[in-house]
């Protein structure tokens, strides 16, 4: 599998799910693709269909309405798939944690492999996160 994982590490296709975020994390994710950060040089590509994805980027505290859909999307993704939670929202709930409508334990919705905290995390932080993922895949 080592050889394969190395290929995988060099070609992470990313699908982006927003589970009730404030949008900023999503914008910063898109920022990654644009000229200043350009993660295509790492082989990362944003795809439109879950079937093509290797990495799921989730943002936001999940609210009760969107959580089942996120779960469904995760189930529809072809394995192996990695879930990376972007922002403080999925990890701690930030300012929203007192709301009624959010899922308290986001791990119960989908298994999250990695958290990249920050509100929003700087693109550099996200790249570092991705780099760590690649490092791991490369062994």
């Amino acid at each position: 599998m080592g050889w394969y994982n190395k290929r995988l590490a060099k070609s992470l296709w990313v699908f982006h799910i927003s589970g009730s975020p404030c949008n900023n994390c999503d914008i910063e994710i898109l920022d990654l693709i644009t000229p200043k950060y350009d993660v295509e040089r790492l082989g990362i590509k944003l795809v439109g269909s879950i079937r093509h994805a290797d990495v799921l980027l989730v943002t936001g505290v999940f609210n009760e309405k969107v959580a089942p859909k996120i779960k469904k999307i995760y189930e529809q993704a072809p394995k192996p798939i990695f879930v990376v939670a972007i922002g403080s929202c999925p990890s701690s709930g930030t300012v929203f944690k007192n709301s009624y409508n959010i899922v308290e334990n986001r791990e119960s919705v989908i298994p999250i492999d990695m958290y990249i905290p920050g509100c929003p995390p700087k693109p550099e932080a996200m790249i570092e996160g991705v780099a760590k993922l690649m490092e791991k895949l490369n062994g």
């Binding site: 927003s18 404030c22 900023n24 910063e28 000229p35 439109g48 990890s91 959010i102």
Partner: protein, 402 residues
């Protein structure tokens, strides 16, 4: 306006679900588009995917905390909501703001408009498959974020505002640098304006697409560029000049047609105006000295309305207080909340490809459309997971698993 029987007819037609997760929508949102072939017959929106209960949370927080909360309604115009919020609180007691504070507020607000409009131009490009425009627009947006970093220390979520003024001062030493960045931006914007005017392919794609008539704009109470593109006057910065808007000179951009192209033009021209305003503010900040914050002691009981012309239109906040430091009712109404229903008027009878760009045309941000709502929260045992532990655990998990 649809009647019930009308809805029944629609059920038999083909429907296309758009969302909740669709590459067109950065946020989760769901449209049920009824089509005939590829022509949109009806559009029905199901919201609530992003609903986090801001109005509910806000009632548990102090005004100062609320500002940070409403900042996180949405990240794109994360100054507009706090600004409208502080305006509302200030409106209760007619609180005066020091002059320097007013200029800084205006500066931040306008910079945000630039960044937001550029973002939209880019995304609109992306949606119509013109990735080059996307990349370029976002490249030119980076300097704005850089300016924000200089001013507030963060690329997004600036946390600048307080009731009674602003929380952070602009370092006078950084003003020349900011001015320099603005200069480069100016040239780039001119270029984008030119593209907007000249590119025939772009025009063929956008002109006469998704027309929102003036009447519909008024009927649906649309706000901001969406209504201004349809020829409806209305700019909060002119109507109710708070902050420094009565002290700076700028134009209100209005076009007549109401199609996506006009919305595009309005946004591009507005960006130019914003750059003008930012310049004026920066120049004033060089001369004007003084406090930036009126240290408010107390908010008396009463009601207040605050609004601000966000990049997408009027943000409206209403607070009702009882004399404590938190609101008893905090109503938030984002511009998209009024703009999105206009799809019903502008999307009918056009092909899906057009409908999609029309959806994008009002620059909707669902995050703040769905802010409100709370629920009786009896069991307050939130599972506040230790962020650090989690992130360490998980990262080491990944390490271990492979």
């Amino acid at each position: 306006m649809k009647t019930k029987s009308n809805l029944k007819n629609i059920v038999n037609k083909n429907q296309i679900p758009l969302g909740p997760f669709h590459p067109l929508l950065e946020e989760a949102e769901y449209f049920n588009i009824t089509v005939d072939g590829e022509t949109v017959v009806d559009i029905d929106m199901d919201t609530g995917w992003m609903h986090r209960g801001h109005e509910f949370i806000s009632e548990q927080k102090t005004f100062t905390q609320s500002i940070y909360l409403v900042e996180r309604i949405c990240g794109i115009c994360s100054t507009s909501h706090p600004l409208a919020c502080v305006h509302a609180v200030e409106d209760v007691d007619n609180i005066e703001i020091p002059l320097r504070g007013r200029y800084i507020r205006t500066l931040v607000g306008e910079l945000e408009r630039i960044h937001s409009h550029l973002l939209w131009v880019g995304l609109a490009g992306h949606f119509i498959g013109y990735d080059t425009v996307w990349m370029w627009a976002w490249k030119y947006r980076e300097p704005v974020l850089q300016m924000f970093e200089i001013i507030s220390g963060n690329r997004n979520h600036y946390g600048m505002l307080r009731v009674g003024g602003v929380g952070k001062d602009v370092d006078p030493a950084s003003v020349p640098e900011l001015n320099k960045i603005l200069d480069t931006l100016d040239k780039k914007m001119d270029m984008i304006a030119k593209i907007a005017n000249d590119d025939p392919v772009l025009r063929s794609r956008l002109v006469n697409v998704g027309i929102l008539s003036k009447k519909d704009a008024i009927d649906f109470c649309a706000v901001g560029p969406t209504s201004r593109a349809s020829g409806v006057r209305g700019d909060i910065r002119k109507d109710e000049p708070t902050d420094a808007y009565d002290l700076v000179d700028f134009n209100e951009i209005i076009t007549k047609n109401g199609d996506v192209y006009d919305k595009f033009v309005v946004r591009v021209l507005e960006t130019l105006e914003s750059i003008k305003i930012c310049r004026q503010c920066l120049n004033k900040l060089k001369i004007i000295d003084g406090p930036i914050l009126n240290n408010v002691k107390e908010i008396s009981a009463g009601e207040g309305i605050g609004r601000y012309e966000a990049p997408r239109g009027e943000v409206f906040h209403y607070v009702r207080t009882d004399g404590t430091n938190r609101p008893i009712r905090h109503k938030v109404r984002a511009p998209s909340y009024n703009n999105i229903p206009t799809f019903q008027a502008s999307c009918k009878g056009i092909p899906i490809a057009d409908a999609l760009i029309t959806l994008a045309g009002v620059d909707p941000c669902y995050c703040c459309t769905e802010r409100a709502i709370r629920v009786t929260d009896k069991n307050n045992k939130k599972n506040n997971i230790d962020l650090l532990k989690l992130s360490r655990d998980k990262t080491s998990n990944i390490r271990g698993n492979f």
